[in-house]
């Protein structure tokens, strides 16, 4: 099926800032296909991001776009959604932005189950500032601020989202390009907080410091570590060592925040009559 990328992109804003070999472009195309598939009204859809490489994405998109401060996307987005619940809200950002400096906003957006779609481009590093370790950089790996190997344990962003209360959580990788849009479509259609984690690669600041000789090596890794949820059930703990589950990891129905607040308004108005 042919997708109309052009109609979603602001004329004259490309090329993007991302390096050759960066997975963000693949993830962005998946996001565009998903938004196109859902037929979102461009005037009635806000795209919100924080700071970092991935957070530059909304600037390229022909929607209501808000490039906020570092980590604050979910908090700004919550304000938009609460003030105008009829708007579609899509957040985009990286791992450091979303779950380090923005971690508090991220978990509380999940807890509230506010109706938005948050796509995390997890490339395991702070790319824009030159490759400092993030909360998802694997323990032992090299970054510009872990020259002797990363001593930090890592966050599993999807597990964090599930634990915090997001009602739709899915994960895929930049290698699995066609799965990206399918999962984001489900996330957009889901009523409540949807988190889609896209594992991707930063050859410039992460790959070159670690064991990856080329972008192809990094893509191969994404291919190798991904195990679809359905297949994981048939695998032994040993076989699952070092793997990450992909697909829809969690989905539940729970009251959505703006709908809950509509009830608050009804109660307040009934009491004041």
């Amino acid at each position: 099926m042919a997708y109309d990328y052009e109609k979603n992109i602001r004329p004259g804003k490309l090329p993007h800032i991302w390096c050759p070999g960066c997975g963000h472009g693949i993830a962005m195309k998946g996001l565009i296909r998903a938004m196109d598939t859902c037929g979102l009204d461009k005037n009635n859809t806000a795209m919100v991001s924080g700071i970092g490489c991935a957070s530059r994405l909304p600037g390229y998109m022909d929607y209501c776009t808000l490039h906020t401060a570092h980590g604050r996307a979910a908090a700004f987005a919550t304000g938009i959604k609460m003030a105008k619940p009829e708007m579609n809200v899509i957040c985009v950002g990286g791992d450091g932005d979303g779950v380090a400096i923005g971690g508090n906003h991220f978990i509380h957006a999940c807890r509230r189950n506010i109706d938005m779609t948050y796509v995390v481009f997890n490339n395991y590093i702070y790319g824009m500032t030159g490759g400092q370790f993030s909360p998802t950089t694997p323990t032992g790996d090299k970054a510009s601020t872990t020259p002797y190997g990363n001593p930090d344990p890592t966050f599993d962003i999807s597990k964090l989202a599930i634990g915090a209360g997001a009602t739709f959580v899915a994960r895929t990788t930049a290698f699995h390009a066609t799965q990206i849009d399918k999962l984001i479509v489900q996330g957009i259609k889901h009523k409540g907080m949807a988190v889609i984690e896209v594992l991707d690669d930063c050859p410039t600041t992460y790959g070159r410091r670690n064991r990856f000789r080329s972008v192809v090596d990094m893509m191969k890794r994404l291919k190798d570590i991904a195990v679809p949820v359905a297949a994981a059930g048939k695998m032994s703990p040993e076989q699952l060592e070092g793997k990450v589950l992909t697909g829809v990891l969690h989905q539940e129905d729970r009251p959505e925040y703006c709908e809950q607040y509509t009830e608050v308004i009804k109660r307040a108005q009934a009491q004041s009559e």
Binding site: C64, L66, R72, A75, F76, G79, I80, M87
Partner: protein, 377 residues
């Protein structure tokens, strides 16, 4: 019909003033001594179909009102010292992106946790310079409960008119004291709404200078789509590092307030015409100042009170004029010398400037002021 009258705390009056001004969005976080503002907003906003949200932290509360404001809502948050420190990041965002909003800061002792229930006026320079980078600032300092109501309304008007964050800073004494409030009738106080664009959507630029220094602001969710960023940007809202564009944008933002001083500045003067010594005070301290002036006049001392209601931009022209006709200006403030620096800057050597600073969590008394006046004369 008689006006609705109530005995209200300053903080409560603030919330009612916000609703009167048309505020429909409040994002907050609990902090003493400002919490009552949030509490009243949580009661009042759902009644009018607005939205109250208690966010996960102070930064998020500030972020939420900026998101809300971009959808077209009049939005407000309220906080105090440590919370205001946290909000500085996104106060800067509101400045550069030119997003109208109102921030209430009920000042308490500091730095850090300081004295949560003690009054202070130690955030007045933070209100001007707290966030990094060059930016304009508007800060209003009411000194009574009725004035908190009307200045909160004015804060919204200025925020919407000049497309920027406006702070209302008052000390804990005014925030927590109770006074009789007369609710203005609808239409009695002027209400200003932001200018919305009329150009074709494809021609819309969020910082279009063809409309002067304040461009019309479209709402997210309208037919206008545009980009908002915290980066230095060009008229079209997209990031730029071109020196001449960055320079023009920065200077325009300062100019939009400098050129509007006459509209923004507001002061109260009491017995200043023939004053040989002037007490320059704001907030609750001005109440002690006024009492001191009355007592001094009874004793035959020609004292007067100058009370800036708009702290920023500072009413420098009027203070310069007063400095030329008086022997000294006394600046009592519940800090160790903040607005006095601004007074010294604008007065230069035209008259003596004396600080009465107090940071022990107790109010400055009329006696303290009277003693200092006699010292100067």
């Amino acid at each position: 019909m008689a006006k609705k009258v109530a005995l209200l705390q300053g903080n409560e009056a603030c919330a009612h003033g916000a609703v009167y001004a048309g505020c429909t969005f409040f994002g907050g976080y609990p902090i003493t001594p400002s919490t009552e503002v949030a509490e009243v907003m949580s009661v009042e906003l759902p009644k009018i179909g607005g939205a109250f949200i208690q966010m996960e932290d102070e930064i998020a509360a500030m972020a939420s009102i900026l998101g809300g404001a971009l959808t077209g809502a009049k939005a407000m948050t309220a906080t105090s010292g440590p919370g205001m420190s946290l909000k500085q990041e996104l106060l800067g965002y509101a400045c550069i992106a030119e997003i109208p909003c109102v921030i209430i800061n009920v000042m308490r002792g500091g730095p850090s946790t300081g004295m949560p229930t003690g009054p202070s006026q130690s955030d007045v320079l933070q209100a001007r310079w707290g966030t990094h980078g060059d930016h304009p600032a508007i800060a209003l300092a009411p000194s009574s409960c009725q004035e908190i109501f009307s200045e909160t309304v004015r804060a919204f008007n200025l925020a919407e008119k000049y497309r920027m964050p406006v702070q209302v800073v008052f000390d804990e004494i005014v925030g927590h004291m109770r006074e009789r409030i007369e609710f203005p009738e609808p239409g009695e106080l002027e209400i200003i709404d932001r200018t919305e664009p009329t150009v074709a959507p494809e021609d819309y630029k969020p910082y279009d200078t063809q409309f002067g220094d304040v461009a019309p602001l479209a709402a997210f969710g309208s037919e206008y789509r545009y980009h908002v960023t915290g980066l230095n940007k060009a008229e079209d809202g997209f990031p730029t590092t071109k020196a001449e564009l960055v320079d023009a944008e920065q200077r325009r933002q300062i100019r939009k307030i400098e050129d509007a001083r006459a509209d923004i500045e507001s002061n109260e003067e009491y017995q200043t015409e023939d004053a040989e010594v002037i007490v320059l005070a704001y907030g609750s301290t001005a109440r002690s100042g006024r009492y001191a002036v009355d007592r001094l006049r009874e004793e035959g001392v020609k004292a007067g009170l100058f009370r800036p209601i708009t702290l920023w931009p500072f009413p420098e022209k009027r203070v310069q004029e007063l400095a030329k006709q008086t022997k000294g200006i006394i600046v009592p403030e519940m800090n160790l010398g903040q607005m006095v620096l601004e007074v010294e800057r604008v007065v230069a050597r035209d008259c003596a400037v004396e600080l009465i600073g107090r940071v022990d969590g107790e109010p400055i008394t009329p006696t303290q002021i009277m003693d200092k006046v006699k010292e100067v004369l």
